[in-house]
Amino acid sequence: MKCQICSQAEAIVHIKEVRDDRVNELHLCEKCAREKGFHSMLDQGKASLANQFIWMAENLYPDATAKVGHIQCATCGLTYSDFVQSGRLGCPDCYTHFGPQLKQILRRVHGSVRHVGRAPGKDGEVFERRQKAQRLHEELERAVEREEYERAAVLRDQIRLLEESAAGSPPLSPPPERVDERACGDAGGDA
């Protein structure tokens, strides 16, 4: 396509502008685009992170890509080879459907496949509660081992409170059966 202004050089900048439901398209060569002041739009795009990512997907695991290219995200229909071409996933569920392939690449790019940062409030609370429950369970086990039954009773109550406050949220892992029995039976005893 030739530049709309000079009609000579090949157009390399393509701009779409929608006004009053009308789409205006601008196709400009480099010189005319610079003349119009779009040089910052020209000077970008080559070595982006996303491109590096695609390069990795294509070059580090070419066989893997060929074998799994047909795999499709059941939610949005994107295939793995679509992803390799564009470097962009189609929807949040792609992370599940391309899980094994993505994990390999994520490990190379980020050196990790596990998020440890912020979490949205609701999920964040679940995180926090789970961690706290884990701590309490561990403490409870230790208390029982040391036959500190009074302490164990306090811990058991705390765990129960935590579980009640979690009503309506994903269930927390239940405390080990034996700990529960002994702690309950001996609560208040002469430890």
């Binding site: 701009i15 910052s40 739009m41 970008q44 992170l49 590096q52 949040p92 409030g121």
Partner: protein
């Protein structure tokens, strides 16, 4: 014009008119958070009606955010190419948003220190900007908006992978923290390559003046984190901060070397640059970036009689093509812009009478 240009053009009360820590070397700091809505395709793959629904939904929620109480939500489609260029130069939108405005939107605070792009590569791109070196402040400002929005919108989040993003390079924290830094002495002493290679090796990215994929102009570099998975935001910010301090130390040493080995040549370069800025009839924007960079070097070397770092920053911003044309209220040819730019800079740098 759909943009409130009369309010936007003056620098008064804007973040870039303020001062920040280490501003002689660091122009600005930015933190952005990428967020997506659960149950929707990411913008590059979303269908038009889905994108429009998200745009409307996001606009409604964004208007409730206290920071945007008096702000206008702009549908990018309603803005002209010139207005978009202006916003791009102001660091309020990305190249992608400037190029294609369909189903996309933007809201920003009156001081332009916080803003949110809708339907960029991710449904929401929350960003905070500050003058000088202020990583924590930017992070806090961005998370305040994030916290507010997550009350109204359900984010796409996985316990394993964190915030899910269209590009897997952002998955996890979805955070990109970047610092626009001026390193003239390292460039002049030819040590920059070694330093930047080191920066790359510790997992940070280096880019040009306008962000991803752009050329380095006037010795201005953007240094930012690349990793978003497996590391807490606070750790990411801390390692970026450490590296920046290290780079500044190298720059400081390079300045000492310059002054010792080539003091006169450097001083000459600085005053010549100022001479061109204050006397030329025609100036291109790239030339201004180079000249302003040289004068900035003089400022950091403590040379007397130079405009301060803040004035130079304003000069870089206001002499860009979009800014000049918005200020003039008309489209101009590159020649007309070069003349206007030179006149404007002369007025700006003229010694007070």
């Amino acid at each position: 014009m759909n943009l409130p240009v009369a309010e936007m053009v003056p620098a008064d009360g804007k973040w870039f008119a303020g001062t920040g820590p280490l501003q002689d070397a660091i122009l600005s700091t930015r933190v952005r958070l990428a967020r997506n809505l659960r149950g929707h395709r990411f913008p590059p793959k979303a269908l038009p009606e889905e994108s429009n629904r998200i745009l409307q939904r996001a606009a409604g929620c964004l208007r409730q955010v206290p920071e945007f109480e008096r702000a206008t939500f702009h549908a990018m489609e309603e803005l002209s190419t010139l207005e978009r260029q202006f916003l791009l130069e102001r660091h309020l939108i990305s190249h992608d948003l400037a190029r294609d405005g369909r189903h996309r939107g933007l809201i920003f605070s009156a001081d332009e220190s916080v803003g949110v792009m809708v339907n960029e590569e991710d449904h929401l791109r929350i960003q905070a900007l500050a003058p000088g070196f202020q990583l924590d402040q930017c992070f806090t400002a961005a998370t305040r908006i994030d916290d507010r929005l997550e009350g109204d919108l359900e984010y796409a989040f996985s316990e394993d992978l964190g915030y899910l993003t269209a590009c897997p390079t952002n998955v996890g924290t979805g955070m990109r923290a970047s610092v626009l830094i001026h390193l003239p002495a390292l460039v002049l002493t030819r040590r920059i390559k070694k330093v930047l290679t080191g920066v790359n090796q510790v997992g940070l990215a280096v880019r040009g003046f306008y962000g991803e994929g752009t050329d380095v102009l006037g010795n201005f570099f953007q240094i930012s984190n690349q990793l978003t998975l497996g590391e807490k935001e606070s750790q990411t910010l801390l390692s970026l901060e450490r590296v920046i301090h290290q780079v500044l130390e190298y720059e400081e040493k390079a300045r000492e070397v310059l002054l010792k080995d080539a003091g006169d040549q450097i001083r000459d370069k600085v005053v010549r640059a100022l001479g061109v800025l204050t006397h030329a009839y025609l100036l291109s924007s790239e030339e201004v970036i180079g000249l302003a960079s040289a004068v900035r070097l003089g400022v950091t070397l403590g040379m007397p009689g130079l405009p301060d770092a803040r004035t130079l920053h304003a000069l870089l911003l206001y002499s860009q093509p979009g800014h000049l044309q918005i200020a003039a209220g008309a489209e101009m040819t590159s020649r007309e812009r070069n003349a206007m730019r030179a006149r404007w800079i002369q007025e700006r740098l003229a010694p007070p009478r």
